[in-house]
C-alpha cells in the first residue's frame, strides 16, 4: 500500500506491504540502517525513532501507521542534507564518551532527545528512569547518563534554536 509521511524533514511516499514493521521499512526498504534491531521482544530500544515528536520503538509500529505523520531517525537528527554538524545531544554523547560499540547509540540518542525535549532540566534519577527502555551492554550507563544531562543542558542553552 502507499504510505506518505515526512521523513527526516522531507516528504516521502513508499509502496510497502502493510505488515511491514517501521524498523524493517527503514532498514530494508529505505536503506536507513542507522536504526538498529537488537531484539525481537521490544526490550532493547536500539530501534527508537521520533514519531510525531515522541520516542517510539520502531519495531512496534507498522508502516501504514506512518501515513501523514512525521518521522525522524538518527540520520535526520542534525537536520536534512549531508551536513556533518551534530545535534547537541549527539555532541554531548561524543564529549562524554557516551558510546562504545555504537549499536545501542541511535536508540539512546533518540530517546534522550525526546526526554530532554519534554523535560529540559532532568535530574540524574529522571534520566536513569527515562532510559529504562534502552539497553546498553558496553558503557554501564554512567557516561550515557552524563551525556543526556549535558545534552539536555545544551539543547536548551540560550542561542540554540529549536
Amino acid at each position: 500500500m502507499i504510505v506518505s509521511f515526512t521523513l527526516n524533514g522531507r516528504s516521502r511516499t513508499v509502496d510497502v506491504e502493510p505488515a511491514t514493521l517501521v524498523a524493517d521499512l527503514l532498514r530494508e526498504n529505505l536503506n536507513l540502517t542507522g536504526t538498529h534491531v537488537g531484539c525481537d521482544t521490544s526490550q532493547c530500544g536500539a530501534c527508537v525513532v521520533l514519531f510525531n515528536g515522541e520516542a517510539v520503538k520502531s519495531c512496534t509500529l507498522l508502516a501504514p501507521m506512518l501515513d501523514g505523520g512525521t518521522l525522524t531517525t538518527i540520520e535526520g537528527l542534525s537536520g536534512p542534507g549531508g551536513s556533518n554538524a551534530l545535534h547537541p545531544m549527539q555532541e554531548a554523547f561524543h564529549q562524554n564518551h557516551g558510546l562504545q560499540c555504537g549499536f545501542c547509540t541511535p536508540g539512546m540518542v533518540m530517546t534522550a532527545v525526546a526526554l530532554a525535549t519534554k523535560n529540559p532540566t532532568p535530574t540524574e534519577a529522571e534520566v536513569r528512569h527515562g532510559l529504562e527502555g534502552n539497553i546498553c551492554r558496553c558503557t554501564g550507563y554512567q557516561n550515557i547518563v552524563a551525556s543526556v544531562l549535558a545534552g539536555a543542558a545544551a539543547m536548551h542553552a540560550p542561542g540554540i534554536g529549536e
Binding site: 536504526t35 538518527i74 556533518n84 555504537g102 551492554r137
Partner: protein, 795 residues
C-alpha cells in the same frame, strides 16, 4: 607538528562520528546484489536422535534455493568445528574431544543445536520454508546440571565419553596442600555456584557470504572479534578452502564480550551455502536465536576450603570445581575453567600451597566458552568469598585479614604456587586507595541511617588480580593452546606523511581507533588526525589473533609500538643521507629528525616524501618506501587488578538489593587514554554487577529447555539499576610490555561480582547468613531473610 595527541591524553574518540550519525557499517546493514536469505532450523529438544528430516515440502515452496542438512555436510566431506585448546587430565590422557558437526549428524545435544539451513529468495520465504521442514525426533532424557551429568545413570551425550566427563583436570601440589590442612588452626569451607551467563552483545550475530565463481574467491562478512582466526580455522579445518581464496571481514561489530570470539558453525554453513546456491547468502540472528546459540559463560559448581593459621595467615587453598562445557567443545571451551581459572586462585595473596581439581563436563546445554573475564571472575569469586567466610568465622576484620595476606609491593615479581609469575603490582596500595575513595570510615553512620529506615546495609570488598594480555605463545602452547597468541601491526606511512595502521586486533567498542592513533601520534610525532586505524579485514590486514582476553593494547599495542619504532629507525637512515650526517648522529623527537648539536633538521613529512620520491636517496643500501611491520609475542601475561568496594542496601520487606555506592581502584599499568579506560571499567563493572544481582541462564532440568530465553526473562542491567560509580587507577607499570600497559577490558567484570555479593552477605550477616548465591534477586534474598527469621528446629 600540531595536533600531536599522545599517551595519557583523552581525545574524544575518532570512531564516534559514524556511530552517532547512523553511518556505522554493521554486518546486518550490508546488502549484496541478488542476495538470498538463510534461516537455521535448530533443535527444539535438549537431547534427541534425529530419525529423519523431510525437506521435500520446503523444497516444493516457491523461491526456496536449498535446504542443507547434516547429510549434505557429510557428503561434501566437510570438517568438524575445531577446538583451539587440547588439555590433558590428571591421568595424563587428552581430554575427550567428540566431533562438533556444523549441522547435526544423527543426534542433537542442546536446544538450539543446528539441524538444517534453509536458503530462499526472501527472509519471509526462508522462514516459511523452515516451518515446512519436518524433523522426526526421538526425544531422549536430557541432563543440564554439571553434578547430575556425572552421576551414574545420567543420560549420556556421546557413546565414547563415559559419564559425560570431558576431562578431569588438576593443577597444584596436592600433597603440600594436604599437609598444610593438617597443620591448620582453622579451615573455612564454602560451597558455591557461579551462575551461567549469556553475554548478549546488543548486536545479534550475523553473517553474509558470497562466492566468486570466476576466481574461486569467497568473502564472508561476520560479526567476529577475530576474522583472521575464523579464516584460518574455517578454510583449513572445516571447509577445505585455500586460505588465500578466503576473505573474512568483520566490519563494525556491536559489542563482543567474548561471545563473538569463536568460530561458529553458522559462519561455515553460510560460506558453504553461498557456493552451493551460487548467490550471496545473508543470515541475521534474532535475539531469541542468540540466546540458544551464542556461547554461554561461567556455570561452575565449586567446593572450596581455605586453611589458616591462628593469626589468619593463609596456609593452603583447595578447590574442586565442576565446570559445564555444554553439548560440545567450543573454540576456547576447555581452556576457560582450567588454565584461565586455577592459576588465578592465588589471588593477591601469599597462599603458599594451592590445589585445584576441575571436572570438565558435557551437558545438554549451549556450549560454554569465554565471556568477559572468562575463568578469572570465577576464581576471584571463590577466593574473595572464602576470605570473607574465614574472617567471619575467625572473628578477624575482613580488611585486616586481607592486609595480613596480601603480597607486599616489594615482593614483586612474585611466583605463585600455580604456574604464573606476577611481574608487578601493588594490591595494598589499591586497597588503601579504595578504602579512602569509598569513604569506608563513614560507613557505620550510613548503616545506622539505613537501620533507622528499616533497611539492612552492607559493605563488600574484593581485592583481586587477573592474568590477561593473552598470551605468551610458548607458555600457552605448554598449557594446550593449538595456536599462537601474538599480534601484528603494520605502520604504513604515506608519501604525505599521513599514516594508516593495519592491525590484527578488532575494535568493537574499545576505542582502538583512538588509542592506537595516540600511540602512533606519540611515537612518530604525527598529528592525531593524520592517523587512521584499519582492522577487521583479512584482505587488508596481514594477520592477527583478534581481540579478547584484554589483549589488544597489551599485545597489539606492543606490536604497533614496535612497528612505529622500526619506522623511526628507517627514517633516521633517510635523514642521515639527506642531512649528510652519520646515522648515529641523527636524533628523532616530536616528529623532527635532526643532527645532534646542530640546527639541521628534516620533518617526518619530508622524510616520508623522500622515501616515496627517491631522487635524492641512498638506493644502493636502502629500499624506497616507508612501511614497517612488527609481530609481538609477549613474554608473560599481564596482571592487572585492584580493589573494588560495593555498598548495598537491602529492603527486608521485598528482598530488593539496591547498590548504593560502587568504588574501584584498579592497577591497569600505563593509561593511554584515561577517558576510554574509565569507560571500559564502567562497562566491565556493570557486567559483573549484572552477574551478581540480575543475570541467570536457567534450564529446565527435565526437558533441557532454556527458560531464560529472551530479554523478558533474562534480566540485563538497566540504567535505573545502578549508582554512579567511582573509578580510579593506582598503576604500577608492567615490566615486560613496551609501554608498561596491562590491559583494562576485563578487570571490572572480574573484581565486581565478589564485591557485590560480599556486600549483600555483610548486610545479612546479623541474621547468620554466610553465603548467598548469584544472582541475588529479590526472590532469593527475601527467602534468605524469611528462612533466617524462622525459628530453627532443635538439633
Amino acid at each position: 607538528m600540531s595536533n600531536v595527541i599522545g599517551i595519557g591524553a583523552a581525545p574524544r574518540r575518532k570512531e564516534d562520528f559514524r556511530f552517532l550519525t547512523g553511518r556505522g557499517n554493521y554486518v546486518a546493514d550490508i546488502k549484496r546484489a541478488d542476495m538470498a536469505f538463510g534461516v537455521f532450523i535448530r533443535s527444539q529438544h535438549g537431547h534427541a536422535v534425529i530419525r529423519g528430516i523431510d525437506t521435500a515440502p520446503a523444497l516444493a515452496l516457491p523461491g526456496v534455493q536449498a535446504v542443507l542438512t547434516g547429510d549434505d555436510v557429510a557428503a561434501d566431506g566437510l570438517g568438524s568445528m575445531p577446538c583451539g585448546w587440547g588439555i590433558h587430565g590428571s591421568d595424563g590422557l587428552p581430554m575427550k574431544e567428540p566431533p562438533f558437526p556444523m549441522l547435526a549428524q544423527g543426534k542433537v545435544r542442546f536446544v538450539g543445536d543446528m539441524i538444517a539451513f534453509v536458503v530462499a529468495d526472501t527472509l519471509e520465504l526462508a522462514r516459511a520454508a523452515a516451518e515446512a521442514v519436518v524433523i522426526d525426533y526421538e526425544v531422549l532424557p536430557a541432563v543440564v546440571g554439571v553434578l547430575e551429568a556425572v552421576r551414574p545413570g545420567a543420560p549420556q551425550l556421546f557413546d565414547d565419553v563415559p559419564n559425560n566427563l570431558c576431562c578431569d583436570w588438576e593443577l597444584g601440589d596436592k600433597a603440600a596442600v594436604a599437609t598444610a590442612f593438617r597443620k591448620a588452626a582453622h579451615v573455612a569451607r564454602l560451597s558455591l555456584v557461579n551462575n551461567r551467563l549469556i553475554g548478549n552483545p546488543m548486536e545479534p550475530r550475523a553473517a553474509i557470504a558470497e562466492y566468486n565463481g570466476g576466481t574461486g574467491h569467497y568473502t564472508l562478512w561476520t560479526t567476529s572479534q577475530f576474522p583472521h582466526v575464523v579464516r584460518f580455522l574455517m578454510s583449513a579445518l572445516v571447509l577445505n578452502i585455500p586460505e588465500q581464496k578466503m576473505r573474512v571481514v568483520a566490519p563494525d561489530v556491536g559489542g563482543g564480550f567474548g561471545v563473538k570470539q569463536f568460530h561458529y558453525g553458522e559462519e561455515a554453513v553460510i560460506t558453504w551455502a553461498a557456493r552451493r546456491v551460487g548467490r550471496p547468502v545473508k543470515w541475521v540472528a534474532d535475539r531469541s536465536e542468540g540466546f540458544v546459540s551464542d556461547r554461554h559463560g561461567r556455570d561452575h559448581v565449586t567446593e572450596a576450603e581455605l586453611a589458616l593459621d591462628q593469626n589468619g595467615k593463609f596456609l593452603a587453598l583447595k578447590v574442586v570445581t565442576s565446570a559445564n562445557m555444554g553439548g560440545y567443545l567450543s573454540t576456547f571451551g576447555p581452556n576457560i575453567p582450567t588454565n584461565l581459572y586455577a592459576p588465578l586462585l592465588s589471588g593477591v595473596y601469599t597462599t603458599p600451597a594451592i590445589y585445584c581439581n576441575v571436572k570438565v563436563v558435557f551437558t545438554n546445554t549451549v556450549p560454554v566458552d569465554a565471556y568477559r573475564g572468562a575463568g578469572r571472575p570465577e576464581a576471584t569469586f571463590v577466593v574473595e568469598r572464602l576470605v570473607d567466610v574465614a574472617a567471619a568465622e575467625m572473628g578477624i576484620d575482613r580488611v585486616e585479614l586481607r592486609r595480613r595476606n596480601i603480597i607486599p609491593k616489594e615482593s614483586y615479581p612474585y611466583q605463585t604456587p600455580v604456574l604464573v609469575e606476577y611481574d608487578s603490582g601493588d594490591p595494598m596500595g589499591c586497597l588503601e586507595g579504595a578504602l579512602t575513595a569509598a569513604d569506608v570510615a563513614g560507613f557505620a553512620e550510613r548503616k545506622a541511617k539505613s537501620e533507622r529506615d528499616g533497611k539492612f546495609r552492607g559493605l563488600g570488598f574484593s581485592t583481586y588480580v587477573e592474568a590477561c594480555g593473552l598470551a605468551p605463545s610458548r607458555f600457552a602452547g605448554r598449557l594446550g593452546a593449538r595456536g599462537g597468541l601474538y599480534e601484528s601491526a603494520t605502520v604504513r606511512v604515506h608519501p604525505t606523511g599521513q599514516v594508516t595502521v593495519l592491525i590484527g586486533t578488532h575494535n568493537h567498542g574499545q576505542g582502538h581507533e583512538t588509542t592506537f592513533a595516540q600511540i602512533v601520534s606519540e611515537k612518530l610525532g604525527v598529528a592525531f588526525d593524520n592517523v587512521d586505524i584499519v582492522f577487521g579485514d583479512t584482505d587488508r590486514v596481514q594477520f592477527g589473533m583478534g581481540t579478547y582476553g584484554s589483549r589488544s593494547l597489551v599485545v597489539g599495542g606492543a606490536a604497533l609500538a614496535k612497528a612505529s619504532e622500526k619506522v623511526v629507525v628507517k627514517g633516521k637512515k633517510i635523514a642521515a643521507h639527506l642531512l649528510e650526517a652519520s646515522e648515529q648522529d641523527i636524533q628523532f623527537e616530536a616528529g623532527v629528525f635532526s643532527v645532534a648539536g646542530t640546527d639541521r633538521t628534516k620533518t617526518f613529512q619530508e622524510i616520508a616524501g623522500a622515501a616515496y620520491v627517491p631522487h635524492n636517496y641512498p638506493l644502493e643500501v636502502l629500499e624506497p618506501g616507508l612501511e614497517e611491520q612488527a609481530y609481538y609475542d609477549p613474554v608473560n601475561f599481564t596482571y592487572p587488578g585492584g580493589c573494588h568496594i560495593a555498598e548495598a542496601e537491602i529492603d527486608p520487606e521485598t528482598g530488593i538489593v539496591t547498590l548504593e555506592k560502587y568504588t574501584a581502584v584498579d592497577d591497569v599499568g600505563t593509561v593511554i587514554n584515561p577517558m576510554i579506560v574509565e569507560g571500559q571499567l564502567h562497562g566491565g563493572i556493570v557486567q559483573g554487577i549484572g552477574q551478581a544481582l540480575y543475570e541467570n541462564a536457567v534450564y529446565d532440568d527435565v526437558s533441557g529447555q532454556l527458560l531464560s530465553g529472551s530479554l523478558m526473562d533474562y534480566c540485563m542491567p538497566r540504567a535505573d539499576h545502578l549508582p554512579n560509580m567511582t573509578v580510579k587507577t593506582h598503576s604500577t607499570l608492567c615490566t615486560h610490555t613496551p609501554m608498561g600497559v596491562k590491559g583494562c577490558g576485563e578487570v571490572g567484570t572480574i573484581g565486581s561480582p565478589a564485591a557485590v555479593i560480599n556486600a549483600v552477605v555483610d548486610a545479612l550477616s546479623h541474621l547468620g547468613v554466610q553465603h548467598v548465591d548469584m544472582p541475588a534477586t529479590p526472590n532469593r534474598i527475601w527467602r534468605v531473610i524469611q528462612n533466617a527469621a524462622m525459628p530453627r528446629a532443635a538439633e
